[in-house]
């Protein structure tokens, strides 16, 4: 038993030494650069951890493969920077046309980390491993000063508190959307660029990479059809859900914020909704169950009332209203959730009810306010008169 385990141990040790063999061949470089405290003239560390490098994705390469310009000692001064693009031409080309094209500001290492410790993107040690991506991007995009300088929102905190951020940071879900799921990696384009996956008309497809069912349903609705037809005013996913601070749609906070979002286009409908009990009770928190736009209209496959598939089609109203109002019948669903009591043509009955009530209110109050004011003046007048005559008596 003892012999077997010591053989295994010896074999393991042999393998561990054998794997980074290529590096060990570079003993000439490492005789100096193995010293972690070694610095170049500008004070930058030039030490290399041979063990980590050996395990990294470039572990099989020789120093000279990348540091091609260094052929002798002492080294030339200045040293020609390493050209990653000599191998990674596609990535370099992508980067060159992207928002990160200024190379001095965005060297490969700004995302991929220490050049001698680059790991494959499915390795948890990699800076671009899905669970590490937000932190890597956040190094710049979680910085207020940087955001202000480039006129960008400070997105990292928005993202990390979102449903995607939670899934990633709390649940460790590899499938949770991270920055590059939507923005891509090397060829990141501004959302204003029609080729960008975050360009308005491309967003449904981008989100649909994961949310395929919802995108299909959305493309069937009026909004999806309008966007497909090139109407840039119609909302895409991010217009309702926001881009980074995406909330769980059933969360109170999302229910509270959603109605004004629909209302930013459907102004008349928002105004008439505001007049109803649904809005009065539901608009200010604490009670989020009251009907919001999509509770009746549907969320993704919004369809006009004339479409028999719409939840607000006449034939479906009893079911739609009945989801909250148990016992809703054909008469109940005659209720107009967007009635406008100020519009005589659309809602004549309501218009006259409101007119009558307003006249009653104005008439009653008007009469009694005058009545009471006159009464007050007269009573006060009598009081003062009485006081002065009494004052005379006392004097």
């Amino acid at each position: 038993m003892k012999t077997a385990s010591s053989i295994a141990l010896a074999l393991g040790a042999l393998l561990a030494v054998a794997a980074p063999r290529a590096v060990w061949a570079e003993t000439d470089c490492l005789s100096c650069h193995a010293d972690a405290s070694l610095q170049d003239a500008s004070g930058k560390s030039v030490g290399v951890d041979a063990h980590t490098f050996g395990a990294s994705i470039h572990g099989s390469l020789k120093c000279g493969d990348c540091h091609a310009a260094i052929k002798e000692y002492p080294h030339p001064d200045p040293i020609t920077p390493v050209k990653c693009e000599s191998c990674h031409a596609d990535q370099a080309a992508g980067l060159a046309g992207s928002v990160h094209s200024v190379k001095a500001e965005h060297p490969c290492t700004s995302c991929h980390g220490d050049a001698h410790a680059i790991f494959p993107k499915d390795d948890a040690r990699s800076a671009v491993y899905p669970l590490n991506v937000p932190r890597t991007c956040g190094a710049c995009h979680g910085n207020d000063a940087m955001a202000k300088k480039h006129g960008l929102p400070n997105v990292y905190p928005l993202y990390i508190d979102s449903i995607h951020g939670f899934a990633l940071s709390k649940e460790g879900l590899l499938v949770a959307a991270n920055c590059q799921s939507c923005h891509g990696s090397h060829h990141i384009l501004s959302h204003k660029d029609p080729l960008s996956p975050t360009y308005k008309t491309n967003i449904p497809k981008t989100c649909g990479n994961c949310h395929a069912g919802i995108t299909a349903s959305y493309m069937n609705g009026v909004h999806g059809k309008a966007v497909a037809a090139g109407d840039l005013k119609a909302p895409v996913c991010s217009d309702c859900h926001t881009a980074h601070a995406i909330l769980q749609p059933t969360a109170d906070a999302f229910r509270m914020q959603s109605t004004p979002i629909c209302g930013s286009c459907h102004k008349e409908k928002l105004s008439t909704y505001r007049d109803t009990f649904h809005s009065q009770l539901g608009s200010l928190g604490g009670y989020v169950e009251t009907a919001r736009c999509w509770d009746c209209h549907g969320a993704h496959d919004v369809l006009p009332a004339s479409d028999p598939r719409s939840p607000i089609a006449k034939a479906n109203l009893v079911v739609t209203c009945g989801r909250c109002h148990a016992g809703a019948n054909m008469s109940f669903v005659q209720y107009q959730p967007h009635a406008n009591a100020r519009n005589r043509k659309l809602n004549p009955a309501l218009y006259f009810v409101r007119l009558f009530m307003n006249l009653l209110l104005a008439g009653t109050l008007g009469f009694f306010v005058i009545h009471t004011i006159l009464w007050l003046i007269r009573s006060r007048y009598d009081q003062i008169k009485k006081k002065s005559t009494e004052g005379d008596k006392n004097a």
């Binding site: 209720y335 009810v353 006159l374 007269r378």
Partner: protein, 288 residues
């Protein structure tokens, strides 16, 4: 004609026990008024944030009690209290007026029902306001008191019906047309607004804050008033009772100091709450 202010001065001069007091409201009536105004204050305080749900104070108030769900709960609770008070009052009217055939409930000088004298009193009163005639002599209930009563009576029916129609909308939809469900909210909120504005301005001033009663008429809390007050405020009833020899039967004990103080605390609290709500309502209404 000696006025109420005169009466107040005299009653202050005389020691408390010397002044004779007369019963105006029974204990049951006072309790009913207390149930009425407390539930009304509750309904106003919880209804206004719903009516003006976009205003900042409505948000604060809603947050304070635990959100709009809580506000609706309190609103419905107060509505039930007021409904019970209303039914008790109806039962009293039916018992006294129809079953016991008591006189003066549905008609006559002591009835709440308006009569020709009330019309004459209204015009006479206005003439007096303008210095064009003598002050009319009022009976047990003056015309503005009758108006208060019927405004509340009608208001409770209208607001109550429209409120229950919203509370139990699917049930009411069995016999109401669909547009009525839209109308009930308009009716409920407008009539509620009228009630709030009327009670917190007109009723408060007419009954409590005008110089003759300032700062508060305690009779609805203590149930009794002094002889001077009775004589000056309701001379016709005083004289009629005297002529009929029934005046002595109405003599009551003077209210205790604790009773007066308690009434003042309750009454002032109600008036202050009402005035605060009035200011909030007007500010929100005028901004709309």
């Amino acid at each position: 004609m000696p006025d109420l202010e005169q009466a107040a001065i005299e009653s202050r001069e005389k020691s408390h026990a010397e002044v004779r007091h007369f019963m105006r409201f029974t204990r049951a009536q006072r309790y009913l008024h207390a149930a009425l105004f407390s539930s009304f204050l509750g309904l106003a305080a919880t209804g206004l944030p719903l009516r003006f749900s976009e205003s900042i104070w409505a948000r604060g108030l809603a947050k304070g009690v635990g959100g709009f769900g809580a506000i609706l709960f309190f609103h419905k609770f107060c509505a039930l209290v007021l409904t019970v008070a209303f039914l008790i009052h109806l039962k009293e009217i039916v018992t006294r007026g129809i079953i016991h055939r008591e006189k003066g409930i549905f008609w006559g000088a002591t009835s709440m029902v308006a009569n020709w004298k009330d019309v004459k009193d209204l015009f006479g009163h206005i003439r007096w306001f303008l210095g064009l005639g003598p002050k009319p002599k009022f009976d047990r209930y003056a015309y503005w008191e009758k108006f208060d009563y019927w405004a509340v009576f009608w208001g409770m029916i209208v607001i109550g019906f429209s409120g229950y129609a919203m509370w139990f909308a699917p049930f009411f939809a069995r016999f109401l047309p669909g547009w009525a469900l839209n109308a009930v909210l308009v009716i409920h909120s407008e009539e509620g607004l009228l009630a709030i504005l009327f009670i917190f301005s007109i009723h408060f001033v007419n009954t409590h804050l005008r110089p003759d009663s300032f700062p508060m008429d305690l009779v609805v809390f203590t149930g009794v008033e002094s002889e001077e007050e009775f004589k000056t405020k309701r001379p016709l009833e005083y004289q009629r009772l005297k002529a009929q020899g029934k005046l002595e039967a109405r003599v009551a004990e003077a209210p205790g100091i604790w009773q007066i103080n308690f009434s003042k605390v309750v009454g002032f609290t109600a008036i202050v709450i009402g005035l605060v709500l009035l200011v909030l309502t007007l500010s929100a209404y005028l901004r709309e």
